[in-house]
């Protein structure tokens, strides 16, 4: 059991651009706000439209949109794989329990929403999406949360992930050096304490740069 554990590799951090795939199609050019609204409409339609034919039609429409975004089929299939497996399992279960019509409706509905969301994610740069989010959250300044603070928090979090991953690696090595790599406590307590300490010094650095004024 422990041998299998050792073979796990630390997941690579794919950087601030995330799952975006660059391109120049109409979907790439469409603003992030419009695409988010479109995604919400698809989600709503899946809930409202009843029956297997409507569900299949929606899935077909979203598939056409995905094809027009010029995404690499292998990447799309890879991000769809988990939901395809879920849809398959749930579809079989519902076929057995409630018949083919419900099975197709539920399975197609799941794949439709996830595929639409994948298309939005793959055609929109994360920073543009986060900017749009910042603009959408701008009214929060009335409850004491200025948009600049939101943007700063996002950037600070993105900066902290690779640093904390490195800390987790150091903690794991330290635990291993003392023969404690099987103890969740020896791994998690130092990781959590260092996280707080890091946040404290970062807070001090922000204050020193006048960002709390």
């Amino acid at each position: 059991m422990s041998r299998r554990q050792d073979r796990h590799q630390r997941p690579a951090w794919s950087g601030p651009l995330g799952l975006y795939a660059s391109g120049t199609t109409w979907l790439h050019r469409l603003g992030p706000g419009a695409k988010s609204v479109g995604l919400a409409v698809v989600g709503l339609l899946v809930l409202v439209v009843r029956g297997p034919w409507g569900a299949v039609l929606l899935l077909a429409a979203v598939t056409v949109a995905a094809a027009s975004a010029g995404l690499r089929r292998r990447n799309v299939l890879r991000s769809l794989l988990p939901i395809l497996v879920t849809a398959g399992v749930v579809g079989l279960y519902q076929w057995w329990q409630r018949g083919p019509a419900i099975a197709v409706e539920v399975a197609a509905g799941l794949v439709t929403v996830v595929l639409a969301a994948c298309v939005v994610t793959a055609t929109t740069r994360s920073d543009h999406l986060l900017d749009a989010l910042g603009r959408a959250l701008a009214p929060l300044r009335h409850v004491g949360l200025p948009p600049r603070t939101v943007a700063l928090s996002v950037a600070l979090m993105i900066r902290s992930v690779p640093a904390l991953l490195a800390t987790a690696g150091q903690v794991r090595d330290a635990a291993r050096a003392r023969g404690l790599e099987r103890s969740p406590r020896a791994l998690l307590v130092p990781a959590a304490v260092r996280t707080v300490a890091r946040a404290r010094s970062t807070g001090e650095a922000l204050a020193a740069r006048g960002l709390g004024d």
Partner: protein, 237 residues
């Protein structure tokens, strides 16, 4: 000009859950007027020298007495003081808060009310000045320790502060980077308050403060200060 008048720092001990917290002194009253271009602060770990440095830009506020920089009180004019006093920490990893170098410098420039284009231009100019011109878009976590400290310095100096406080800026660096940073600091026009364990760098300052057990125990000539510090450490041993 940095003026400390009876500046005292106390802190809660923070022991016990919910119980009465005790207060202890982490810096006994300090009174001095620092006008020299290069002031070094030396002392053992935990002696209070970092607290002294943090008093100067209001990161730590005096529990009694006053600290003023160019006539501005850190307690009542904290924001204005921080615009005049740049601060460089020991560990640049905690100081650099943005994902890429150019964004991090841009963040420092935010308070100068520039347009986005001007900000970007000045950030890139600051990077070029420190030999980091080709590192603008590189993720900060991919830089070496020395490059990170250089970037931290570039970010602080981009806003052109009148005073620079450095809390052991070279402690984590290798010899090559240490001399790079030392040379850079020595070439600055700003008044520099340097907290350091590097006694050679301290001896080159115009004035030295020695801090021991929460008190300033020496204030004056650098060579004499370094000698005092060496004697102190010998006694402790």
């Amino acid at each position: 000009m940095i003026e400390l008048a009876g500046a005292t720092v106390t802190a809660y001990t923070g022991t016990g859950h919910g119980g009465q917290q005790e207060i202890l002194t982490i810096l006994h009253p300090v009174t001095c007027t620092l006008v020299e271009q290069r002031v070094a602060v030396i002392g053992a770990n935990g002696s209070g020298k970092s607290t002294l440095a943090r008093l100067v830009n209001g990161l730590v506020l005096p529990s009694a007495g006053t600290v003023t920089v160019n006539g501005l009180d850190t307690l009542t004019h904290g924001a204005a003081v921080r615009r005049q006093v740049g601060f460089v920490f020991t560990d640049p990893d905690a100081q650099l808060v943005m994902p890429t170098a150019v964004e991090d410098i841009g963040l420092s420039l935010h308070r100068l009310d520039l347009s986005a284009a001007e900000r970007d231009e000045r950030a890139r100019a600051a990077l070029a000045r420190f030999g980091l011109g080709d590192r603008a878009e590189v993720p900060v976590h991919a830089l070496s320790g020395g490059q990170k400290q250089l970037l931290a310095l570039a970010g602080v100096l981009a806003t052109e502060p009148a005073v620079l406080v450095c809390d052991e800026p070279t402690t984590l660096l290798d010899l090559r980077w240490r001399s790079t940073v030392d040379t850079l600091l020595e070439g600055l026009d700003q008044q520099v308050l340097l907290v350091t364990h590097d006694l050679e760098a301290a001896a080159r300052a115009d004035r030295v403060l020695v801090v021991d057990e929460a008190r300033v125990v020496f204030d004056g000539d650098p060579r004499q200060g370094v000698a005092t510090y060496r004697d102190l450490m010998a006694v402790h041993r």
